[in-house]
């Protein structure tokens, strides 16, 4: 099992480039430890801004820094960052088009048993409705690295969500094409499509492999970029496979499933199933337990696929 979390990869990449590019600034809200940014802060004290527990100020300051030419990366728990400071995200970053990268750490149900206060299961929904900001959720450590390489050359507002713990590898190396806004076909298949994002990509891939044993061709799309959404890949899947399941670590409202459904119903209506966290405070437990409880699992994906194929 991989031991490196996606947030550690983000920290490593920033540490590698910050020495060369003095405009890279990391901001934290008493979150340097949880964001794996302690070593960055020690190595580059002049490029690290601590604002204390004040998320509104965190985002506003980042926007101000960007407006004078800095390249700020905000690292703070996704649950607070995307709720407490959402107006600063909407106005100071997205509306004003400031080059701020907003990295929500410990996203989804990473904080497990800490409860709804610490879950970020509405972040995609709220961010999606704001014009001018991209949304990216990497699937594993390799994809996080690919994403960071792209982001270093990407001018403009982006929200990135990563989990707290290391996730199982989906890729085995960096040797693949990655482009912001382009879904990646992880498995080919023409009977059904599973569209996944972030930590659920691994589940989707495993489910596809299991379905293959039954002779079912299950396409898997890794929708690492939720916005701008790769509509073409979705419409193609609808046409070619006729059934779509989405799976995400997010509320069933307003997330990946809703985004995909908007495209499907307006272009090529096909039967769909949206898997995610239902409209309730998520049950206590670790991520794995919560995922299993709500059917974000290989076995449930298998069952849902089979029932859609009937």
């Amino acid at each position: 099992m991989n031991k490196i979390s996606n947030k550690e990869v983000i920290s490593d990449v920033l540490s590698r480039v910050a020495g060369v590019d003095k405009d890279i600034i990391v901001l934290a809200s008493d979150s340097r430890g949880s964001a794996s940014m302690t070593s960055f802060a020690e190595k580059y004290p002049q490029q690290f801004v601590e604002v204390g527990i004040a998320e509104q100020n965190l985002v506003g300051i980042a926007a101000g820094l960007a407006s004078v030419g800095k390249k700020p990366f905000i690292t703070s728990p996704a649950c607070f960052l995307t709720m407490r400071s959402i107006e600063q995200v909407k106005l100071d970053v997205a509306y004003s088009q400031m080059n701020v990268k907003i990295v929500g750490i410990s996203g989804g149900v990473s904080y497990g048993a800490l409860g709804m206060s610490h879950h970020s299961l509405q972040d995609i929904a709220v961010m999606r409705a704001i014009p001018g900001i991209s949304i990216i959720i990497p699937a594993d450590r390799y994809e996080t690295e690919k994403m960071m390489s792209s982001l270093l050359d990407y001018e403009g507002p982006v929200y990135v969500r990563v989990g707290r713990n290391p996730v199982e590898d989906v890729y085995s190396d960096l040797n693949y094409n990655y482009e912001i806004g382009k879904a990646i076909v992880m498995r080919q298949g023409n009977d059904i499509t599973i569209i996944a994002t972030g930590e659920t990509v691994k589940i989707a891939v495993d489910a596809s492999d299991k379905l293959k044993e039954e002779g079912i061709g299950c396409r898997v799309l890794n929708m690492h970029t939720i916005k701008p959404l790769d509509e073409e890949a979705i419409i193609k899947a609808a046409h070619e496979t006729g059934r779509i399941i989405t799976i995400e670590e997010h509320s069933i409202f307003g997330g990946l499933g809703a985004a995909v459904a908007e495209v499907v119903v307006q272009n090529k209506p096909v039967p769909m199933k949206i898997l995610g966290i239902p409209d309730e405070p998520a049950i206590a437990g670790n991520s794995k337990q919560i995922f299993d409880y709500y059917g974000l699992s290989v076995s449930n994906l298998y069952n849902v696929s089979m029932s859609l194929l009937k």
């Binding site: 506003g60 101000g64 407006s67 004078v68």
Partner: protein
């Protein structure tokens, strides 16, 4: 522009322009625009180091209108400075205009979109911090309303400004003591306001925010200050300043004048303008 009389004429012209904009578009925030007209005039014609022909000049002083609803005064100043054609003021709040009812950074000279209250100071902190990181000498100014100081985010930013010793940051509070629902002290008391800022580690300077000469002196003193504290200019103003029947009335926060009121307001300001112009001729 250093001559006080010239600046008084300029401020009066700004008031005339903004009332025309509001009357023409039938929308706007007349009270707060009038109260802040002198502060903006002094900043843009005397204090700030800017080049309207080169709005993205890296060394320019930065300004953020945190009380974004006073945008009519702001647009009038920017147009007069030449950031965009004065003729364009007529499009204010009309269909498809870029001169929307709150500052829009698609317009040359405007750094950031504002309009939701309690945002400007954090942005200004980021700008001032960025200047310090790069050893740049530009200064950052932000004009806040008094009513907006109830937003907690201002105090997060106030804390950060003194923590990071941002003596290149000058905040101005347009202290007209009125907000949309009435007196600030009845809506949510701000006093003792000077002590609040001081306790957050700021140098506080108080002045009459509708007195051009005093404003110049106060800005000069704030800029000359050698300590490492951020500066706060508590500018005591009159909401609706310049038009007697609008002055000090909360219901003029965003009322649009009737034709009769419009004519009366314009004529009062024109009379004042004539007085100033006569003074100028005598000189």
């Amino acid at each position: 522009m250093n001559d006080v009389l010239d600046l008084k004429i300029k401020a009066t012209q700004i008031r005339l322009d903004l009332i025309n904009m509001i009357y023409e578009s039938k929308s706007g925030h007349i009270g707060g625009s009038l109260s802040s007209a002198d502060i903006l005039t002094v900043l843009y014609y005397n204090v700030m180091n800017i080049d309207p022909n080169n709005p993205n000049w890296e060394e320019r002083d930065r300004f953020i209108l945190s009380k974004g609803h006073s945008v009519e005064a702001y647009y009038s100043v920017l147009a007069d400075k030449g950031y965009f054609p004065k003729e364009e003021l007529k499009t204010y709040c009309k269909f498809g205009t870029r001169l929307i009812g709150h500052p829009n950074n698609k317009i040359p000279g405007i750094e950031m979109n504002t309009g939701a209250l309690g945002h400007g100071l954090s942005i200004a902190v980021g700008m001032a911090l960025g200047a310090k990181m790069d050893n740049k000498s530009f200064r950052v100014f932000t004009l806040m309303g008094d009513g907006e100081l109830a937003e907690g985010s201002n105090w997060e930013a106030a804390m950060a400004a003194s923590h990071y010793k941002l003596n290149n940051l000058i905040g101005i509070v347009d202290r007209n003591k009125l907000q949309i629902s009435g007196n600030t002290e009845e809506v949510m008391s701000l006093e003792p306001l000077e002590d609040k800022w001081k306790s957050f580690g700021w140098d506080v300077l108080t002045t009459d925010g509708n007195d051009i000469e005093k404003l110049i002196d106060t800005f000069n003193a704030a800029i000359a200050s050698a300590n490492d504290k951020p500066k706060l200019i508590l500018a005591y103003t009159t909401k609706g300043k310049g038009v007697k029947f609008i002055e000090n009335k909360a219901n003029w926060h965003h009322r649009v004048p009737t034709e009769e009121e419009y004519k009366a307001a314009i004529s009062e300001l024109q009379e004042l303008m004539e007085v100033y112009l006569n003074e100028q001729n005598i000189k």
